[in-house]
């Protein structure tokens, strides 16, 4: 597939969204969804490496049982800020705000999103939130855990919780605006002929994600406001001494934060659903089941929040209901995995880097999802909740799954975004390193968790028997760090030295490949008219003479 990728140099002179206008303001005031996507790409990469740096310090502290590298309070701030940065400033915006922003309009044949200026506003809100978060971290930080449970966060911590809360609150609005933009765009701006059943599944996944962002994010905003008010004014919403209920906080928090995990994973599922058909040269198996499973996840995802509270002091019967619903929501995820697998059957499979990332996603997401079954089993949850088992579970989903998908997507669409080809050999190597490093980091944590090592422990000198597994995990984290640095380096390198990409280097289906690489500001020279279904790889791969018949 690679020989045809190179195109003559002179094509580079063409006007594109990258070279149409120059200068800092042309970027900072742009309303072009593709440029905003790049602004997001740069900002979230920055936060990813900050969060990653904290993670590395956490793992180094855990190399030895004693708390010897940093102070207890510092450690608590490290894992809090790692979580807050990774969740709110990297993962939630990652695929939607970068790849979604870039691709949603192009995939449906639109010139831009429905509200280009709101799109820019969303980036500014993100940046304002991010700057406040940075300020908070540099002037003392927070130690509440990203879950900021009351009454610790309201009455006990003397760190900068309110500032961090404001940062998350503002970044939340950026997420709401992105969701709003996508919903309206997908409803109103599809090109002629682009019916709902012809939409790429990436769009379905983003549609489902946007609904969660719209309906869920306000709840976390309200929760933050309530916590801040309680902290400042002692209203007695959560404080039992004033007649409040600390469990109410947990219900509110997880009512957003469980759906939020689907904000993080659904877009990644969408990416993988584009990659697998392309590198199998096949239409997706069970299009409508994959599409509706995204919607089912978005809807059912709102009904399982209290599975984070089985030992919190909730009634046994509530536990039963939420356990049952958690199993119900696992079904659509299983459907997706089976459909991806079936898509490979009788395909013509290529092992380019995006596909390797997709394979990695499949493996890691499957393990993450299956260990969700353990956690949803009430009797087991009691033992493993708040241990490293949970830590491993959600990292398999959110890092193994979501970040793998994100990297796969970045590689897949890199030629479109940058107009350059990335170095394939390095990219495959990085995919392999990430996969191996990831498993080495997080698999031992399942064992640790079942052995009983609680999460958020700075010092485990009372249980030195946990050390071997922790050393393995730290070693893995080092490998993983290398795996994440590599793409950053060679992708930057390729922007300057990479071979120019053709319009459709993968010979992929999808409207975004029908325009030039990189695309012009208006995306398409003329508005496309869609007469084919998504994933029409049969036609794309048809021998030339067969192709002429349907065109006429």
């Amino acid at each position: 597939m690679s020989a045809t990728n190179v195109v003559p140099q002179q094509q580079f002179e063409r006007e594109t969204y990258l070279n149409k206008v120059y200068g800092m303001w042309s970027w900072l005031l742009t309303t072009d969804h593709k440029r905003i996507a790049l602004l997001y790409l740069i900002s979230i990469t920055f936060f990813f490496f900050i969060g990653g740096f904290f993670a590395l310090l956490i793992r180094l502290e855990l190399l030895t049982p004693a708390g010897d590298l940093v102070q207890a309070d510092t450690y608590n701030k490290l894992f809090t800020q790692h979580g807050m940065v990774m969740v709110f400033f990297f993962l939630i915006p990652s695929i939607p705000a970068v790849l979604g922003n870039f691709l949603v309009p192009m995939m449906i044949g639109a010139k831009d999103l429905a509200f280009p200026r709101i799109n820019l506003l969303s980036w500014y809100l993100y940046i304002i939130g991010g700057v406040i978060m940075l300020h908070c971290m540099m002037t003392g930080g927070v130690d509440t855990g990203w879950t900021f449970y009351v009454p610790f966060s309201t009455n006990y911590t003397n760190t900068k919780f309110v500032e961090a809360g404001i940062a998350i609150f503002i970044a939340g609005f950026s997420s709401i605006l992105t969701g709003l933009n996508f919903v309206v765009t997908i409803h109103r701006m599809r090109a002629p002929g682009m019916t709902w059943s012809r939409l790429p599944l990436f769009i379905w996944a983003h549609y489902a994600t946007s609904i969660i962002q719209l309906l869920g994010t306000p709840v976390i905003a309200i929760t933050i406001v309530l916590v801040a008010c309680e902290r400042a004014l002692h209203l007695g919403i959560f404080d039992p001494r004033l007649g409040g209920d600390p469990l109410l906080f947990q219900h509110l928090f997880w009512f957003y934060s469980h759906p939020a995990v689907y904000i993080m994973i659904l877009p990644s599922m969408g990416v993988v659903t584009e990659i697998i058909p392309c590198f199998s040269r096949k239409r997706i198996f069970g299009y409508s089941f994959v599409a509706f499973s995204s919607i089912a996840i978005a809807v059912f995802g709102f009904l399982v929040w209290a599975h984070h509270m089985f030992v919190a002091g909730m009634s046994v019967y509530a536990g039963l209901v939420f356990s049952f619903l958690s199993y119900a929501v696992a079904v659509p995820s299983a459907i997706k995995v089976f459909n991806w697998t079936a898509t490979l059957y009788k395909g013509s499979i290529h092992y380019d880097a995006p596909m390797l990332y997709a394979f990695g996603f499949l493996g890691l997401f499957t393990i993450g999802g299956l260990t969700g079954l353990f956690l949803a089993a009430l009797g087991i949850n009691v033992h493993v909740t708040d241990t490293y088992f949970v830590v491993a579970h959600f990292h398999y989903i959110m890092v193994g799954g979501a970040v793998m998908g994100y990297l796969g997507g970045i590689h897949f669409w890199w030629p479109k975004i940058s107009g350059k080809l990335y170095p394939e050999g390095w990219a495959r190597l990085a995919a392999l390193i990430v996969f191996l490093g990831f498993n080495l980091t997080f698999f031992p944590q399942f064992v640790l968790g079942y052995m009983g090592m609680p999460r958020r422990y700075w010092d485990y000198s009372h249980m030195p028997e946990f050390q071997v597994l922790n050393v393995l995990s730290t070693a893995g984290a080092t490998v993983l760090g290398v795996g994440y640095l590599l793409p950053m380096i060679y992708l930057l390198w390729s922007m300057r030295y990479g071979k120019p990409a053709s319009d459709n280097p993968w010979n992929a289906a999808g409207l975004e490949w029908k325009t030039s690489s990189p695309p012009p500001t208006d995306n398409f020279k003329e508005e496309p008219v869609v007469t084919w279904e998504a994933y029409n790889y049969e036609e794309l791969d048809a021998p030339p003479q067969a192709l002429e018949v349907p065109v006429g």
Binding site: R281, K282, G286, I349, A377, V447
Partner: protein, 341 residues
């Protein structure tokens, strides 16, 4: 080597064996599902790798397959769900005749009071082969009482009691962890559970310098003036507390509740929230006037005059645990003693 590098936690309670059984079942089921998917992906990826001249075969999908791989996993999930729920009910339903221990958590220690009067910090001595029920509360933030060897965990909240129980099957010393993040020294909020042979335990218990907790409570009941309103010899301004525990109580707002530890606690600290029918709202709140330990002692006292040594007043025995709860707990507790190892 394997001694300092164990891969499986010790199992030292009746529940531990049940949790392990379910866990092993899940390891097998999940392992099979993971293997199936991995095997298919690897096989397809190898078997159908691109070859010159061979084109992919387009397949639209198959409703029959979709239904198969939705329904079969769902049924498997339901088995796991049901099994998990049964174990959970056992974990969450303390036997009615368990030895009771009061636990007060605070940043960053566990304070333990036995009914017999012993006090401990970050340690809990219990007898092997007996049901032990922990009645727990927190003085500040949320903590969580976690004993991996028993496979039990329960968050400990300020402002109310939560309850956890176990039946240790093996003498030894086991880790006690705080599992809910609670601030600076969260990871220092650890201790040990010491499971003793019955004889050793008797010796340990009888070595206590303090009187039983209920006796402390009785003394306070008089000192704080509770006894001036709550009389057992004649009608007083407050209800007679003899025999109330475990009984239904009718409230002024028409509800009927069963008197349990949380109800007693609330009656002392926030009497306004649940008024007993037929009495004037004159009981003062004791919020801020008594410590968590003193509340525990009062509760232990009020319970003691409801269960053992019934002095005056008829039917004070707690035979009437509310019907629904009773049936669950009797289903849950039996075969405790058989399961040893």
């Amino acid at each position: 080597m394997l001694n300092n590098f164990p891969l499986w936690p010790e199992s030292a309670s009746t529940i531990a064996h049940r949790v392990d059984a379910l866990y092993i079942f899940l390891l097998i089921v999940a392992g099979m599902m993971a293997l199936l998917i991995c095997a298919l992906v690897i096989y397809f990826a190898a078997r159908f790798r691109s070859r010159p001249g061979v084109r992919a075969e387009q397949i639209e999908g198959s409703n029959a397959l979709e239904i198969t791989w939705s329904v079969i996993p769902f049924l498997v999930f339901m088995v796991i769900f049901a099994w998990g729920a049964v174990v959970y009910f056992q974990e969450r339903t303390p036997p009615t005749d368990a030895t009771e221990v009061y636990v007060v958590a605070k940043q960053w220690m566990w304070k333990v009071e036995h009914a017999e009067g012993q006090r401990e910090i970050n340690e809990l001595h219990v007898p092997v082969g007996r049901d032990v029920k922990l009645i727990m509360t927190s003085q500040d933030v949320i903590h969580s009482f976690f004993v991996p060897a028993f496979r039990i965990k329960q968050d400990v909240l300020p402002g109310r009691y939560t309850v956890e129980w176990f039946h240790a099957t093996k003498p030894g010393t086991y880790h006690l962890f705080c599992a809910e993040y609670c601030g600076t020294q969260h990871s220092g909020m650890v201790g040990s559970i010491v499971v003793l042979e019955p004889a050793q335990y008797e010796a340990w218990v009888n070595g206590s310098p303090n009187g039983p907790l209920s006796a402390t409570g009785e003394k306070m009941f008089a000192e704080l003036g509770c006894s001036s309103c709550h009389r057992s010899d004649m009608p007083g301004r407050g209800p007679n507390l003899q025999g109330v525990f475990g009984k239904p109580v009718e409230l002024a707002d028409g509800r009927t509740l069963t008197v349990d530890e949380n109800y007693l606690r609330e009656s002392i600290l926030d009497p306004g929230s649940k008024r007993v029918r037929g009495f004037q709202p004159i009981m003062p709140t004791f919020q801020g006037l008594v410590t968590e330990e003193q509340v525990n002692a009062l509760v232990a006292y009020i319970k003691s005059i409801s269960t053992a040594g019934t002095r005056i007043g008829a039917n004070a025995m707690p035979s009437a645990v509310s019907a629904s709860e009773g049936s669950v707990s009797s289903a849950a507790q039996p075969n405790g003693n058989q399961v040893q190892q």
